[in-house]
């Protein structure tokens, strides 16, 4: 039960992290270029990948047990 709750809390945490990171005003802070690539492009896909890996890891921890 505790583990399930911990898992739920982590996912809710990921959700809110995603909401904050993928929306303005934080999103508007990213600008310019990164090694020739547009910084917002790199930033958005980076955060996106982070969310996916996060969800996968939380699910994997659950599955492994």
């Amino acid at each position: 039960m505790l583990r399930r709750k911990a898992r739920r809390d982590r996912l809710v945490g990921l959700f809110f992290a995603g909401v904050v990171l993928l929306d303005p005003p934080l999103l508007n802070l990213v600008n310019g270029a990164l090694l020739g690539w547009p910084a917002p492009y790199v930033y958005l896909f980076g955060v996106w990948a982070f969310l996916i890996v996060g969800v996968a890891l939380v699910g994997r921890v659950e599955g492994a047990r």
Binding site: R7, R8, L11, V12, L14, F15, G18, V19, L22, D23, P24, L27, N28, N31, G32, A33, L35, G36, W37, P38, A39, P40, Y41, L44, F45, W48, A49, L51, I52, V53, V55, A56, G59, E62, G63
Partner: protein
Amino acid sequence: MSQQLIALVAIAYLLLLFAVAYLVEHGTGRLSRLTGSPLVYTLSLAVYCSSWTFNGGVGVAARSGLDFLPIYLGPTLAFCLGPFVIRRIVRISKANRITSIADLIGARFGKSGGLAALVTVIAVVGLVPYIALQLKSISSGFAALTGTAAASIDKPVLLDEALWAAVLLTIFAMLFGSRSIRPGEHHPGMVVAVALESILKLVSLTAIGLFIGYGLFHGFGDLFTRAAAIPSLAAVLAPPPGHFGVGWMTQILLAGLAILCLPRQFQMLVVENTDERHLDRAFWQFPAYLLAINLFVLPIAVAGRLMLPADTDPDNFVLAVPLVAGQPMLALVAFLGGLSAAASMVVVETTALSVMVCNDVVMPALLRIKRLGLADRSDLTRLLLWVRRAVMAVVMALGYLYMRHDSAQFALVSIGLTSFVAVAQFAPAMLGGLFWSGASKVGAIAGITAGFVVWCYTLLLPSFVQSGAVALDFVANGPFDIDLLRPYALLGLAGLDPVTHSAFWSLLVNVGAFVLVSLAGREHPVERARASVFVSESSDTALIWRRTAPVPELMSLAGRFLGRERAAAAFTDWARTRGLDPEGATLADAETVLFYERLLAGVIGAASARVLVGAVVEEETIGVDEVMRILDETQRVIEANRQLEEKSQALEAATTELQQANSRLKVLDRLKDDFVATVNHELRTPLASIRAFSEILRDNPELAATDRLEFLRIIVAESERLTRLINQLLDLSKIEAGGAFPAENAPVDLVRVVRESTAAMGQVFAGAGVGLDLSVDVDPALVTGDHDRLVQVVINLLGNAAKFSPPRTGRAELRLRQVGGEFELSVADNGPGIPPVDRDVVFERFRQLGDPMTDKPQGVGLGLAISQRIVAQHGGRIWIEEAAGGGALFKIRLATRPVPIAAAAMPA
């Protein structure tokens, strides 16, 4: 490329897909095993990526950079919460055999046919633009590939590629989605075909992206660097400060809701889910797919802007870039990718819509028309199929008409978003209904209706303006020039783009009406009970609704919609799990009725199933009092339970008491045995000596006179001892039987008692050589009771003191004094004393200290027992302490007799 070749390739590709689907459903080989794979499930969810993604995404990227992304970030965020939201939807839907989102919302609110029909109508109206989008995309892709004019609105209808695309897709949708009626609306062939299409979509976009990055440019860094040098592209690569705003957030929200509310997503995510565990992987794999398919959208868009003439439609960049680069084969792959995207969307969407319209609008209506006699027809599966096919054709026709009429001016994405706002209207009722048991049916109807009306007014209606169906100044000035009613600036809310504006107003009105009406309305208790059962994910609804029906009738009913064999097989399976005999059952109980209702719901939807089953079922109409009674009964059971618990606790306590009593009884029993043995022994000893001396006297007449006298003295003494013993025994039993108080209830002066006793015992002390000191501190000492009995007690104590004090050096002391409201009599000696452990047991009958085997008993063993009982009967206490010299100190306390003041004042 020639039109014929491309059309042939497209048809061949669709036929290939159909062959795969057919083999999956009918074959036994590897293909049919694909249906249970979690990867296929995940890929089938990618039906989300329609032409909007494939062609429209690049279009948006070419115009304004990263603005295409919210449509995929929304589902990603929604899937973060998937384990609670999506899993719950899937569980509830499985338990209730839900076949569509209209079915789910209708079933949640009391299997309401009206609500399900409302949702269905909105879904059809809302999705027509979305289907039009796919047709437009195919036709313009076809045009781009063949180099003909793109604007199909000017063409004669029969020469319009979009019409042929629509016809072709309709046929395929019928082949995939309505070939047969299956319980639970599973379409495994369609799922596998869509999964294949998803792979092709991903592969072709990735191939084009890599070709641009490494075939046309020196890596993506080179591409971006070159683009950055061109001022007109700066906005695409680096958005101006503050670029992302409310519109971005609204699109994330809309997409997050759409992934749950779009009929085709619901179909794939919930209805086609064969195993709940597949969700675990899909929760991260589906967002990963979305990320992968969008990875090269921006590079393709930038390359298109760099390479293509300015007047090229950005929605066609995916095809145009390979063509310009001289790669017609790659362009063909891109076309097939776009075709896959459009075809999978159209097939699944029309299938889902046809199920909704058929189950929630057409069939309930047809079944209600008694004249048609549909409920009595023996086989309705064919009718169901044709209704669905007709619905598909109508939906496609509407989509085509919308496209012809309206959409030429709009980019793909803005058409798609129009549909997103429409389906988002389902979200409050669905999510609210699943997590809030207070949500009411009226609230749901009010919310959905209000949101839909606002959507029509602020998005759908204005979209007809440019085609001339609505007056042009309607948007600019509002109806009848009322400024506040301008559809793009309702109540003066200007400054938002139309989609954000509409989403804000429609969802605000929707949620507001839903919540307010739910809160304000007094919900019927029956509805509330249904809601809580539905929300609790449990499948025990049968216990509440008591319905019975003959099994054969239910069986034939199910047979009409599923086919006889399928219905029989399903019932046999089910009966086996419940341990019933499928042949023997004649009258179905409530659970069996529910099973049939759910079985039927899997084919024709919950609302229709309820109507049909209701026709053959005898349902006890369950009124408020009935619900109250059930609740009452539950309450009573709980109460009885509680009482039972209390009783069992009391029983437990009684048991421990009984056990204690039992062990006490066992001790007493042992004591009784000891008592009998002792009495036996005590009586026999004097008797034996009396008998022995009497025999000596009888047998020896010549005995000397002194001897004779001595023997006679012994006989007398022993007789006296015997008499005393018997007296004491009688005394004891009399006292024990006597109750709480002595027979005499007179004033007794303890001083007299003490003096009488010492006088009586004087000889004994003298004989034993023990000194006796007497000290009386109070005079008189009046108590209430029996004088003689108290004398008996004191004599007994004095006798013990004389007996146990050492001869010659022995000293005993009798003392009488007042302690508070009591008089205390104490008798001390300087004998061996009584160890603390024995101080209680000496008051038991025949309890004599010392080893019974070696020590000669020094008394009968009844004296202290009698004394204790007498004292107790006088309301006093007797106990033993250690005397100053180590001997025993007996103490008695008796309450003083209340004395009149006059008497107390009298001199003694």
